[in-house]
Symmetry: C2
Subunit: 478 residues, 2 copies
């Protein structure tokens, strides 16, 4: 542990123990430097770390103060989906969401869009321009169907951070994570098969199951620990489950990180029942903890885990660059990728490889981790302030999505119709279920710079929820 | 008709009638200018046109000469594939072809790569750089799942040239033509269905059928007129054909353009048997004739034709920008596109839209049409010179592929193994059949600038064919 980390640990312990109460001024930098016999800059680094962790705040010309502890929001309940294989519905609502385009006067709180306006993205724009240099025709070629090898090598290096040792030759570049998931599913399953999913579950994945004629078996999921292993085990015993499809790190929409022990146990269950695991790690690199959490893939021994990810959430979705580490299914995934869309566009691959190689990617991640974590707390505060009492909110440990659970009777589809007229877009909960559950839930995005305009939008959502609830109460009492 | 075109017509008629025999010197520019009362530059333009049409050749300081008439090569036979639905094989050979990457010392005659080094491509590189301008974040966004509307509008305009009036809202951008074909097939068919295809047929399409568990019904095909309508009609009567999948314009690999009357009759047949038509028009814009040929889609009345194309052959494949006009299947194709790969990369779409809007695309097409036509004749000459007597060669009317048919007993898979050692790559005929037919055929690409190096490669292929044939004859006579 470095000196400043040690100092930060001491200070945070004192804050936790109440030695420095909320709102109090903390010892000055000079005083701490003398007390602990460390340099001024070490103390400053320690305070910066505590700031990032939201424990202290700097006030100009006054020093550092203990931040008021927020009462944590009530968590959503453990989910209770239908526990038998079902065909997937909800395409119309998904279509509505994905057809919406950025336009003036619309606040899009519904989509999975990261913040692309940070200055740490600038070198990427330059790399894109450089990849289209006059005279350099590489951007125009078909590259190998597996993807540009320079990029695969960089990804192989990044994967070490999640505990994975995967050779670049065992990786395939895909057109976004969506193609990774889609090709992975096609490689493992046939129409009519059953796939177990965490529930709620990303709508793109669910619609893929629908498109392939695969039935979903939704497994109850805890908002802090993820998929219920007890329920999964029962399901595996009862049904011929071909694959388990889940997002264990910075889950979309719930935001949890599965405990490492659960990841290991899940893998053992899959081995025992000979099911493949399709692991969506698309938000894994923007977990708020550092080092980032491990993947299930990192424990894989027999190649049954297909790890899927992309740069759509960490960099930008418009690049359409993802990847898959398909384990023993490499050749089948290659076939599915070939027939699905052929190679992936070359220029963005070249640009991203360059961006990572020069260290810009890790720098960008560091910034975004801190930014999103701050945004989560602010957005949670707004929800608690503007939404009715009793609203339950997830506590994401990574990513930039909040899952909000309202009264059981509440209908977010109806809410959405009212919000459209007010220029606010949310993601309704029902698209995260195979069978239209979670109608009383919604997902909102807190990636963008949290401006007064966004606060206004959240206020409008909260007020509309309140109004609809009041109207319902009135109707019921009639 | 312009003056120079009129003069060119007079001169070409005189050549045809033998007034100016092959090898003879033609009248000087000055003499023609006086004879016809036109300017020097008009005569020069007329001669340039005749040069492009390969009727005359300029010899430095000597003037223009009538080119020797080439005896046309013998055409490949009308194909006779198995006329029942079959499951598709040949994946291993396709894999070998698509895994090969450009590298020093390898002449790739096998792949479907256009010439990307022409100066008319330069504005596209600039447009790619411009699309990644500092401060312009559009390249990073998800755009609509249907694709960038500025590009769809340009494509709608281009489609008028093939007789299609299609609204931009009825178009979808895809990740290459491969995704258009794949999403189209998925929208129309289910596993176990039967699809009729022209035979030989593009290997990417066939592998898509394989991947989707669809059976192919290969229809005999004429090397000049395309798919046999009589055979198709019989097949439609005998089998429950869900869709007809074909490339009527500048067919890959045969190069023919289906006569317009046949296109209309095929549509009528499809209507009568309620089959969808999946029309691959990826080479249509580089037909040698101008204006370009019409599509079957241009006659479509009830939205049963799904027109698929891309900029991979007219511009560059590494851009991965294609499109589909899916008629009545729009929403299903949208679903398949969404689950297959999500949106298509934004930056290449913006760049291509810009390139077309400024007139660079049509300029580039004009240049490539002339270039590819010249290359076709030169490559055909080389084949006739270096391959054994009796070799049959297609007469492509667009694109940049030659289909070569050898003795019935000849095995191009074996040929390929020998050629690998010599740094030449070809496409073996069997990947163009669902059931491994056409082993005695090969396809070669004549897109690149036909250097002495490429002539050497063709010579090596021809010599190896000769040697293998001689060895076979010897073996048989033993």
């Amino acid at each position: 542990m470095t000196r400043y980390a040690r100092l930060a640990a001491i200070l945070s312990q004192r804050i936790e123990q109440g030695l420095y109460p909320a709102g109090d001024r903390l010892p000055s930098v000079r005083a701490l430097s003398q007390e602990h016999g460390v340099s001024i800059s070490t103390v400053q680094q320690a305070y910066r770390q505590l700031e990032e962790r939201q424990l202290v705040e700097a006030r100009p010309k006054s020093g550092y103060f203990v931040r008021p502890r927020r009462a944590p929001a009530a968590l959503p309940a453990v989910t209770a989906p239908v526990q038998r294989p079902v065909d997937i519905s909800q395409w119309e609502q998904v279509l509505e969401l994905i057809r919406s385009k950025p336009r003036a006067g619309l606040i899009q709180l519904g989509r999975g869009m990261p913040d692309i306006a940070e200055p740490t993205m600038k070198p990427l724009m330059k790399a894109l321009r450089d990849a289209a240099r006059h005279g350099d025709l590489r951007s125009l070629y078909y590259d190998s169907i597996q993807g540009v090898s320079a990029l695969r090598e960089q990804i192989a290096r990044l994967l070490l951070d999640s505990g994975c040792r995967i050779d670049a030759e065992q990786l395939m570049i895909t057109t976004g994570c969506q193609e990774a998931l889609s090709a992975g599913l096609r490689a493992v399953c046939r129409p009519g098969d059953i796939v177990a999913v965490d529930s709620p579950c990303f709508h793109g994945t669910m619609q893929t199951l629908k498109g392939l004629g695969i039935r979903a078996l939704e497994i109850p999921t805890d908002p802090l620990d993820g998929i219920s292993l007890a329920a999964l085990e029962m399901a595996l015993e009862q049904w011929p489950v071909k694959a388990i499809l889940l997002t264990p790190n910075c889950n979309n929409p719930l935001g949890y990180i599965m405990p490492e022990a659960n990841k290991r146990r899940l893998l053992t269950l899959a081995q025992r029942h000979d099911a493949a695991i399709i692991e969506d790690d698309v938000y894994g690199d923007i977990a708020y903890q550092y080092p980032r959490p491990r993947t299930i893939k990192s424990f894989d021994e027999d190649g049954r885990v297909l790890l899927c990810s992309s740069f759509s959430k960490t960099l930008a979705p418009g690049l359409r660059v993802g990847w898959i580490a398909p384990g023993r299914y490499l050749e089948r995934v290659l076939h599915m990728k070939y027939i699905g869309s052929g190679s992936t566009a070359t220029q963005p691959q070249l640009a991203i490889a360059d961006f990572i190689r020069h260290g810009h990617y890790l720098l960008h991640l560091r910034r975004m981790r801190a930014r999103y974590q701050q945004n989560r707390d602010r957005m949670t505060d707004w929800i608690m302030k503007y939404f009715p009492a009793g609203t339950r909110v997830s506590q994401p440990r990574g990513g930039f999505m909040l899952w909000i659970e309202l009264d059981e009777e509440f209908d977010t589809l109806r809410l959405n119709r009212y919000l459209e007229q007010q220029g606010v877009q949310i993601a309704v909960g029902s698209i995260f279920s195979a069978s239209g559950k979670y109608r009383n839930c919604l997902r909102i995005n807190y990636a963008a710079k949290l401006s007064a305009e966004i606060e206004q939008a959240v206020l409008r959502v909260g007020a509309t929820v309140q109004q609809l609830m009041a109207a319902d109460t009135l109707a019921r009492s009639d």
